[in-house]
């Protein structure tokens, strides 16, 4: 088996240059590559295009990279938890492309799966359709949407092995499996890194072929956005 292990987040991201296109896994703050984001902050790389469903919150996740002005453009579906984001957007400092969430997920899947374009009904008749090819199939209208790829994909998994196989946990899986496949270089950080052979081959969410580098993450904060509880 091919060994994909690198020593640290800093080593994993060392060749990410200014103006790179990145994908970052996560839905809200759940499943974001915390270690990778910290390393990007340390490296100070700028002009990034970040493809991520959300943009973090003011002081966590991608929100930290917005504060340091490292992000030139966000490609997301929902960014409504972030005042700094809204400020940069309204002032024109930040480019933003908003994409329906299912279209975003499928465009990323298409990027990994070698499908340059596909048709979806989402957004037909709305401003999302502007400039896009429209076509009718079986009496329903659809938009043609193109694949999304990235120079680097940063994903965070629950468990991973030295061959790059990944298992996610709960709803922290979200966009990460598709992003892992759509990144030219995919960097996986994991809560628990094990030798190849220790994960059940039948339970793997992301096969190692999609992962170029993997490292043992540390100090996960796993911040919760909406802490909703009930009494026992």
């Amino acid at each position: 088996m091919i060994n994909k292990v690198v020593a640290s987040a800093d080593e994993a991201i060392q060749d990410i240059q200014d103006n790179a296109v990145l994908m970052l896994g996560g839905f809200g703050l759940s499943g974001i590559p915390e270690n990778g984001i910290q390393a990007l902050l340390r490296k100070g790389v700028k002009g990034l295009t970040c493809i991520s469903n959300n943009a973090g919150v003011d002081n966590f996740g991608i929100g930290l990279m917005l504060k340091t002005r490292q992000v030139k453009k966000m490609i997301s579906s929902y960014v409504g938890e972030n005042a700094e984001f809204e400020r940069q957007l309204l002032s024109g400092e930040l480019e933003v492309e908003l994409i329906p969430q299912g279209t975003l997920a499928e465009r990323i899947r298409a990027g990994g799966a070698g499908i340059p374009a596909f048709f979806t009904p989402a957004g037909y008749g709305t401003e999302v359709a502007e400039g896009k090819e429209v076509r009718e199939f079986n009496g329903k209208m659809y938009l043609m949407e193109h694949w999304l790829k990235a120079d680097f994909a940063l994903v965070k998994a629950w468990k991973g092995d030295t061959a790059g196989n990944l298992i996610f946990k709960g709803t922290a899986r979200n966009f990460s499996p598709m992003m892992a496949a759509a990144g030219k270089i995919t960097i996986a950080e994991v809560e628990e890194l094990v030798p190849a052979g220790e994960l059940d081959p039948n339970a793997i969410h992301t096969p190692g072929i999609y992962v170029q580098r993997i490292f043992q993450g540390k100090d996960y904060e796993k911040r919760i956005e909406q802490r909703t509880v009930r009494q026992k």
Binding site: F27, G28, L29, S30, G31, N53, S76, S77, Y78, V79, G80, E81, E86, L89, L90, V96, L98, P100, Q101, G102, T103, L104, A105, E106, I108, R109, T120, P121, A122, G123, Y124, G125, T126, E127, V128, W158, K169, G170, T171, A172, R173, N174, F175, S176, P177, M178, H205, K222, R223, I224, E225, Q226, R227, T228, V229, R230, Q231, K232
Partner: protein, 219 residues
């Protein structure tokens, strides 16, 4: 008297049918789950990758890796399944989810819905709403009949950027239950208890269709 949020949710819960897979949007729609009768077998889908949403966790059950689409901590029920966002929207786009309940800023009399953007003021993004309204076989909107400044949200046509066209089937507001007529117009089905047809007329800017006696809601 106009309904409160919980009463809107309670009235919508009556629309739920046995055996349905249901996606509940953020806000009032999330509250619907509290009113679905126990004898109905239904499954709640969360578009971030969960079928079978359970109640909120107790303090000691909280798991940062288990949230709903509103980023709230949740639990799973027996028979839940977890999956990726691509699989989740395959379910939605492929019309496997039977019922979508979501909020709106505006609904037009032909069933258009606007709920994602106020130009120059608010840019949060559409999230999964555009996918949901483009594909669900039944879409029910939960909202206030009028905005805070008293303007009707049931319009001849939407003024805000729309989320989807000709997709809304039914609307439950604090004042009324209405369905979109296939030929255009809000057909008034039920009044909130104590709310008159005249009050609903006054609060509806779009074409209101009234036929015969309009009964009061029951819960």
């Amino acid at each position: 008297m106009a309904l409160d949020k919980n009463q809107i949710a309670q009235r919508i819960a009556k629309e739920v049918q046995n055996g349905q897979y249901i996606n509940l949007g953020i806000g009032i729609p999330t509250l619907v789950a509290n009113y679905i009768p126990d004898e109905l077998e239904v499954v709640l889908q969360s578009e971030n990758g969960l079928l079978g949403i359970g109640p909120f966790p107790t303090e000691d059950q909280i798991d940062a890796d288990l949230i709903n689409a509103g980023k709230q901590t949740v639990t799973m029920v027996k028979g839940s399944a977890l999956f990726s966002s691509a699989e989740s929207f395959a379910m939605i786009r492929g019309e496997h989810v039977h019922l979508t309940i979501l909020g709106a800023m505006e609904v037009s009399e032909n069933g258009d819905i606007a709920n994602w953007k106020i130009p120059g003021k608010m840019v949060k993004g559409m999230g999964g709403a555009m996918d949901l309204v483009a594909s669900a076989e039944n879409i029910i909107v939960a909202m206030q009949h009028c905005s805070k400044d008293g303007a009707s949200k049931l319009l001849p046509q939407c003024e805000l950027p729309i989320t989807g066209i000709r997709c809304v089937k039914k609307i439950v507001t604090d004042l009324a239950v209405l369905e979109i007529d296939p030929n255009g117009g809000f057909r008034l089905l039920e009044r909130a208890p104590g709310v008159s047809v005249e009050e609903i007329k006054a609060a509806t800017a779009g074409k209101l269709i009234i036929e015969g006696e309009v009964p009061e809601m029951t819960f």
